[in-house]
C-alpha cells in the first residue's frame, strides 16, 4: 500500500435507471452491463473532490440482477457554439434517439484516493478521509451524483457490511472490453480500456496506468 494512499471506502450507489454508455454506441445509446470505473469515479467526485486528491476505483460489486430497459427520447440534435449570437430554439432542433439502459441498479464501489502534486502543506490523508466520511454519511455532495447520464440520479450512501450480490450473479461472466477511464494527460483525452470480468458479482478494476490532469 502506498503511504500516500487512503484506506478503502465502500460506497453504495443505487437508482431506478442507469446508462453507462458504450463509446461505440454513443449515438443510439447502449449501456454496458455493469457500472464503469469512470462512472464510479464520477459518483465519488460528486461527494468529495479537491485538487489535492485523486480517486482510484478498485472494485465494483453488483448487488441486483442485470435488467434492461429500452425507450426512445426526443433529444436535441446539434451542439451549441458558445459564441453564437443568433437565438436558438431547442424545440426546432429535436430528433428521436433510442436508449438501452439498465433498470434497478445497485452497486457498491470500493475505492481509495491518493494525494496529488497539488496538495498543500496542510493537506493530509486523514483530513480528507474524515471529510469524505462526514459528507457521505450526511448525504452532502457538490453536484447531484448520477449513474452514467445526468438524468439518471443516484442515491449515494455508505455501504453496510452485510450486503451481498444476488444469487443469480454468482457466476463467472466475461463482459468484454470495458471503458476504464479517460487519460487526461495529453492534449486530447484518450479513452483507456480493460478486459472486464464479473466474478461472483464483483468487477475487479485493474490499476490505472496513465496520467490524470
Amino acid at each position: 500500500m502506498n503511504p500516500q494512499e487512503s484506506r478503502l471506502f465502500r460506497v453504495r450507489a443505487s437508482g431506478p435507471l442507469a446508462c453507462f454508455t458504450r463509446p461505440e454506441f454513443k449515438v443510439e445509446r447502449v449501456s454496458y452491463e455493469v457500472m464503469t470505473p469512470s462512472a464510479a469515479r464520477g459518483i465519488l467526485e460528486a461527494v468529495l473532490w479537491k485538487p489535492a486528491i485523486d480517486w482510484y476505483v478498485r472494485e465494483i460489486t453488483v448487488l441486483k440482477p442485470i435488467r434492461w430497459a429500452s425507450f426512445r427520447r426526443n433529444e436535441v440534435k446539434s451542439r451549441l457554439n458558445p459564441s453564437r449570437t443568433r437565438p436558438y430554439c431547442a424545440d426546432d432542433d429535436r430528433t428521436q434517439r433510442h436508449t438501452v439502459a439498465l433498470r434497478d441498479v445497485d452497486y457498491v464501489i470500493t475505492a481509495s484516493f491518493c494525494m496529488t502534486e497539488a496538495a498543500g502543506p496542510s493537506d493530509s490523508i486523514p483530513k480528507f478521509e474524515e471529510m469524505f466520511e462526514r459528507r457521505l454519511s450526511k448525504g452532502q455532495h457538490f453536484g447531484s451524483p448520477f449513474l452514467g447520464c445526468r438524468e439518471f440520479a443516484a442515491q449515494v450512501e455508505p455501504a453496510p457490511d452485510e450486503v451481498a450480490p444476488d444469487e443469480s450473479l454468482l457466476v463467472d461472466r466475461p463482459i468484454g472490453m470495458m471503458l476504464h477511464d479517460f487519460d487526461y494527460g495529453s492534449r486530447t483525452p484518450k479513452p483507456q480500456f480493460f478486459e472486464a470480468r464479473l466474478r461472483n458479482g464483483i468487477l475487479q478494476v485493474p490499476a490505472w496506468r496513465g496520467g490524470r490532469r
Partner: protein, 564 residues
C-alpha cells in the same frame, strides 16, 4: 460484449478468412464474354452455390457502382426505373468504374469487359428480355479463355482490389475496444443491409455526436479486423437463408425490426425461434423434440451463451433496440415456460405461432401495432419477462366486447376465443403476483371472479334454453358489464333466471347454478382487470363444459313439465 460476440461468430463461421473477398457470395448470373468483348453466354448460377466476390458495402441511395460484380441495373441498365433515366446513369457509372480498373491494371479480362459494356450490352437482352430482369440480380463476368475464373478473381484485378479496398490507415494507433490490440483505428465502418440501404452500426454522422474533441476514429477506436468482422457477421445473419424460404438466415423480421440471434458455439438452438413464427414447419418439429423430449428439463450444464439483438434501421444508422444475453439452457426453459403458460384445455402442449396469437388480438400484419406487440412478446418469451399488461386488456376486450370480424366461421370463432383465453391465462400467470389458471374447468376452485364467470355462463345457457333458437340478444349482449361491476348486474340476472328456469325447466342447470352460488359470498362492486380476466376464463371453461354436455345425448335434461 456485443461487438466481441459478433466478431467471434464471424471467426467461427469463417467469414473473415479474407478481408477483401467474401467466399460465400451470391451470384445469380455469370456473363461469359470473348476476347473482343463479344457476348457469348448468360449462365445462371444454381441456387445455394457460393462464389468468391469482393467484399463491399451494399448500395446506398445515390449512384454507387460496385467493383466488377454488381446488379443488373448497374451492369446492363435494365429493371423497373424509379426515375426516368436512372438505369442509364447507373450503367454509365458502372462502365466508368470498370474503365478505371482496366486502365490501371491493363488486364485483358477487364478490357474485354469494357468492350462488352460499350457495345454489346443489348445482346444479353436477346437472351433474356428486358422485362424479365428485376434489376437486382447479381451479375459477374467470366472472360472466356478462363474456364471458370471470374474476372475479379484474375490476378491483376484481384491485386488492384486488395490495394484499393484497404484505405490507407490514418491516425495514431490506439487500443481497439473490441480486441484490445493496438492498431490504427478504422474511420468508416462497413455497411449493413438494414433500413433499405446500407446503414452503419457504429457511426457518428454528425459533429454533435462527438465529444472531448476526439474525431470519428478516436472516440471509439475499433480495429479494421473487428469492424469487418462484425459487419460480415451481421450481413451473414441478415442475408437470405440458403433455401430461400426465410428472408434472414438467423433473424426474425418483426415489422420494421429484426431480431438477430446466435450462439457462441454452433448449437441446434439457433433454429429455435422458428418455433415461434412457424411451428408447423419441419424445422419446428425437430425443435419441438429438443424442447419437450430431450431430457425433461434442459440440461443445466448447457451454458452455451446465446445472444440476441433487436435491430432497426433509421437514417443510415442501425439502432440497437435491445440486447439479450442468456445461456442456451435458459432460452430453452423460457420458451417451454412460454408455451406452457399459453396452454389451455385438455390436449397436449403445442407451440403457438406468433401470427395466430396476434390475429386473435385483432392485430393483422401490416398494422403498426403488430410489430410493436410482436417484438415485446418475442422478448418476453425469450427472456422470461412478464408479458405486457396491454395484452391482457386487448385479449379481454376482443373476447368479451369486440364485435367478431364478419364472415368468421364458427370453428374459427371458437379458435379465436380459445386463443384469447390463452393469452389472458399467459399474462395472468406471468404477473409479479401470478394468478394460476386451471387448464380446464375446476369445480373446486373458490376464487370469486372465477365463480362469477361460471355463474354467468350457466345463466346464459338458461336463457338460451328458455328462449329457444329465436334469441336476438343474449344476456351477454345486454349485460355486458358483468365482469366489470358484478354488484349491479348479477342481482338482476338472478331475478331473470327464475323466469328462464320456469320456462326451460333444466334441472341440471339449476343444480349447477345452486352449486356455484353456494361458493359466492357477495357480489363485489368492481373487479380489477386481472380479476376480469379470471372471470372470462371461468365463463369460457364453464361454457365449454356445457357444450360438451349438450353434445352428449340429452338424457340428463328432464322432460319439460306442464305449466301450471
Amino acid at each position: 460484449m456485443i461487438l466481441r460476440s459478433l466478431l467471434d461468430f464471424a471467426r467461427r463461421e469463417n467469414l473473415l478468412d479474407d478481408p477483401d473477398f467474401d467466399g460465400r457470395g451470391k451470384v445469380d448470373f455469370v456473363l461469359r464474354i470473348g476476347r473482343a468483348g463479344e457476348f457469348l453466354s448468360l449462365e445462371p448460377v444454381e441456387r445455394g452455390r457460393h462464389r468468391v466476390v469482393p467484399r463491399q458495402d451494399p448500395h446506398n441511395n445515390g449512384l454507387s457502382p460496385l467493383f466488377m460484380v454488381d446488379n443488373a441495373r448497374y451492369v446492363l441498365g435494365v429493371g423497373p426505373e424509379s426515375r426516368a433515366g436512372r438505369n442509364a446513369l447507373c450503367a454509365d457509372a458502372f462502365l466508368g468504374r470498370v474503365r478505371e480498373v482496366a486502365a490501371a491494371t491493363g488486364d485483358e479480362g477487364a478490357r474485354a469487359v469494357v468492350l462488352f459494356l460499350e457495345s454489346h450490352r443489348d445482346k444479353v437482352l436477346g437472351r433474356r428480355k428486358a422485362s424479365e430482369w428485376t434489376g437486382s440480380e447479381v451479375l459477374a463476368f467470366c472472360y472466356s479463355p478462363d474456364e471458370t475464373l471470374l474476372v475479379h478473381e484474375r490476378t491483376l484485378v484481384r491485386d488492384y482490389w486488395r490495394v484499393h479496398h484497404q484505405a490507407p490507415a490514418e491516425g495514431e494507433p490506439a487500443a481497439c475496444l473490441v480486441t484490445g490490440q493496438v492498431c490504427v483505428p478504422v474511420r468508416l465502418h462497413g455497411g449493413i443491409p438494414l433500413g433499405g440501404s446500407s446503414a452503419r452500426l457504429v457511426s457518428f454522422n454528425s459533429d454533435s455526436f462527438l465529444s472531448h474533441g476526439l474525431g470519428k476514429g478516436e472516440i471509439a477506436p475499433i480495429s479494421r479486423e473487428a469492424a469487418e468482422g462484425y459487419a460480415a457477421a451481421l450481413c451473414h445473419m441478415l442475408g437470405p437463408s440458403e433455401d430461400g424460404k426465410r428472408p434472414h438466415r438467423q433473424g426474425l423480421r418483426i415489422g420494421e425490426t429484426v431480431l438477430v440471434f446466435w450462439t457462441r458455439d454452433a448449437h441446434p438452438i439457433e433454429d429455435v425461434l422458428s418455433l415461434m413464427l412457424n411451428p408447423t414447419s419441419e424445422v419446428a418439429a425437430e425443435m419441438q423434440d429438443a424442447l419437450y423430449r430431450r431430457g425433461r428439463e434442459p440440461q443445466a450444464l448447457d451454458v452455451t451463451p446465446f445472444y440476441g439483438m433487436l435491430l432497426s434501421g433509421n437514417q443510415a444508422r442501425v439502432i440497437v433496440r435491445d440486447w439479450i444475453e442468456l445461456t442456451a439452457a435458459t432460452v430453452l426453459s423460457n420458451l417451454r415456460r412460454y408455451f406452457r403458460d399459453l396452454h389451455l384445455g385438455d390436449g397436449d402442449e403445442q407451440p403457438v405461432a406468433l401470427g395466430t396469437l396476434l390475429g386473435a388480438l385483432g392485430a393483422e400484419r401490416g398494422k403498426p401495432v403488430y410489430a410493436r406487440t410482436a417484438a415485446k412478446i418475442v422478448q418476453a418469451a425469450l427472456c422470461g419477462h412478464p408479458l405486457p399488461r396491454q395484452l391482457l386488456w386487448d385479449a379481454a376486450y376482443q373476447f368479451w366486447t369486440a364485435a367478431q370480424p364478419k364472415k368468421t366461421s364458427l370453428s374459427d370463432l371458437r379458435a379465436r376465443e380459445q386463443m384469447q383465453c390463452r393469452i389472458i391465462k399467459a399474462v395472468l400467470a406471468r404477473l409479479p403476483n401470478p394468478t394460476e389458471i386451471p387448464l380446464s374447468l375446476d369445480t373446486n376452485r373458490s376464487d370469486l371472479p372465477y365463480l362469477l364467470g361460471r355463474l354467468f355462463a350457466v345463466l346464459e345457457n338458461q336463457q338460451r334454453a328458455a328462449a329457444g333458437p329465436s334469441l336476438n340478444a343474449s344476456i351477454r349482449d345486454r349485460f355486458n358489464a358483468a365482469p366489470k361491476t358484478p354488484a349491479r348486474v348479477f342481482p338482476e340476472l338472478l331475478k331473470l333466471s327464475w323466469s328462464h328456469d320456469s320456462k326451460a325447466r333444466r334441472g341440471d342447470l339449476e343444480r349447477s347454478k345452486a352449486e356455484i352460488l353456494a361458493g359466492i359470498t357477495e357480489f363485489p362492486r368492481r373487479l380489477s382487470l386481472e380479476q376480469q380476466g379470471t372471470f372470462m376464463i371461468g365463463y369460457y371453461q364453464q361454457r365449454q363444459k356445457l357444450y360438451e354436455k349438450r353434445a352428449e345425448p340429452a338424457t340428463q335434461a328432464e322432460p319439460p313439465k306442464e305449466t301450471e
